[in-house]
């Protein structure tokens, strides 16, 4: 089968996949594995469970393609399926999610000096620690919205809650983060 163009739009790939074009669905899987896996990780707190949840979600999404509304965005639809799979796995595993977020070593291109770079790294670490201190539902919503950079609608789909709940949780979470960051900012 002809390989799809890497720049092909989701809509085109979905239509081709619906007609049984396997490489088109391969490309969708490749394109969305990262976001699906990370969203599942936020929910399950386990990389192994997240991997299984993302895989099953892609298989179920393929089966559901005939019912996918033409022209609708693929990513939030997929994230809803991913979120469902992840929550099912988490429930069956019988444990609470407790993701460990760490700051990666990144080049501080924008920093004028090694001292500034060290401060920037410390600042990120402090923010991560504050994030870890949030209640789980607040941490999930902040992680999805800012660290995964999902839209409000996509966050709602992934977490299985209404968009209004995402907004209210986000507001409370940001207030709490500001409180937690107080000593850092004035220290």
């Amino acid at each position: 089968m002809e390989e799809p163009r890497p720049e092909a739009a989701d809509e085109e790939l979905v239509e081709r996949a619906r007609r049984g074009h396997a490489p088109a669905y391969d490309e969708l899987v490749r394109r969305y594995t990262r976001i699906a896996f990370r969203a599942a990780y936020v929910v399950t707190g386990s990389a192994a469970d997240a991997e299984d949840a993302a895989q099953d979600a892609f298989v179920k999404a393929h089966r559901a393609l005939p019912r996918f509304r033409s022209g609708a965005p693929f990513r939030p639809w997929l994230l809803r399926i991913v979120g469902n799979e992840a929550r099912n796995r988490r429930r069956s595993a019988g444990r609470r999610a407790a993701i460990e977020l760490r700051a990666a070593a990144v080049a501080e291109a924008g920093c004028a000096s090694p001292h500034d770079a060290a401060e920037a790294a410390e600042d990120r670490q402090a923010l991560l620690q504050a994030l870890q201190a949030l209640a789980e539902d607040q941490r999930q919503v902040v992680t999805c919205r800012y660290l995964l950079q999902l839209s409000v609608e996509e966050t709602a789909a992934a977490l299985g809650v209404p968009a209004g709940t995402v907004k209210s949780r986000l507001s409370r979470a940001l207030d709490r983060l500001r409180e937690l960051m107080e000593p850092t900012r004035h220290g």
Binding site: V29, R30, R34, D56, R63, P66, R67, Y146, L147
Partner: protein, 250 residues
């Protein structure tokens, strides 16, 4: 507000600096999962066909005709109608046909059913919308009007029935009476059947998951697969009229 914006900016910066677990390459596993699911569905279809064949032996089959891709069987009815679905208290013509629960809109019924219905543009928005939990069928009911003659039930011009098939292959099996005629037609580029003299109340499987449904109106039925759904139009329309309507489903 500036403080909030600074916090949001810091979170945005953090997005590029989180050490996530390495993501896997899922393509091979997803392909394998899709193939395994397709095999399971084929096995279920074979089992369904075998079960139907056994039922025919016990029920008195008189003739069998080959279908395009599904099994179409002419049969003296020997099975009872399905158990009535619970009906809503909201009334309507559909309540008499045991179509399930009535919904205020197609969108509401779609949410209950978990799939998107195809509404024929030629018919427009239905007068009543129903969904049956036990059948998995969304029903769009239209009263008679200028372009829609009354069916065998004078209160109804057309009944459009839709159920989610498990895959894109035609998966329906139909049972018709001895006076029934069946002809093969093309609908939406795919195979379908035009049935005249369809008997009322005879149950038949819909899809491979064991659910059953029955013809609700004695008369003419157009049945076909489209977009992963099994659709049928029961109406007083002739073949050309029914095909014209079906061509606008989307």
């Amino acid at each position: 507000m500036a403080e909030l914006e600074r916090l949001e900016a810091r979170l945005g910066d953090l997005a590029g600096a989180v050490a996530w677990p390495p993501e896997p390459d899922l393509r091979d596993r997803v392909r394998a999962g899709i193939a395994a699911g397709a095999r399971r569905r084929r096995v279920r279809l074979v089992l369904l066909a075998a079960a139907l064949a056994l039922a025919l032996v016990g029920g008195g089959a008189v003739a069998a005709t080959p279908a395009l891709r599904g099994a179409v069987v002419q049969w003296v009815p020997a099975v009872p109608s399905p158990s009535p679905s619970p009906t809503s208290g909201s009334g309507g013509v559909g309540a008499d046909l045991r179509l399930g629960h009535r919904y205020a809109s197609v969108a509401d019924a779609e949410r209950a059913a978990g799939f998107r219905a195809l509404v024929p543009a030629a018919l427009g928005q239905p007068d009543e919308v129903w969904y049956g939990d036990s059948t998995g069928v969304i029903a769009l009911l239209y009263g008679p009007r200028g372009d829609l003659p009354p069916s065998s039930d004078r209160r109804i011009g057309a009944l459009v029935m839709e159920a989610a098939a498990s895959d894109s292959a035609p998966a329906f099996v139909k049972v018709a009476g001895p006076s029934t005629t069946i002809s093969q037609v093309t609908v939406a580029g795919g195979p379908g059947e035009w049935i005249t003299g369809a008997p009322h109340g005879v149950s038949f499987p819909v899809g491979p998951d064991g659910r059953t449904d029955s013809f609700r109106l004695a008369g003419n039925v157009l049945i076909w697969n489209q977009a992963g759904l099994v659709l049928r139009i029961e109406s007083g329309l002739d073949e050309r009229g029914a095909l014209r309507v079906a061509a606008t489903a989307g």
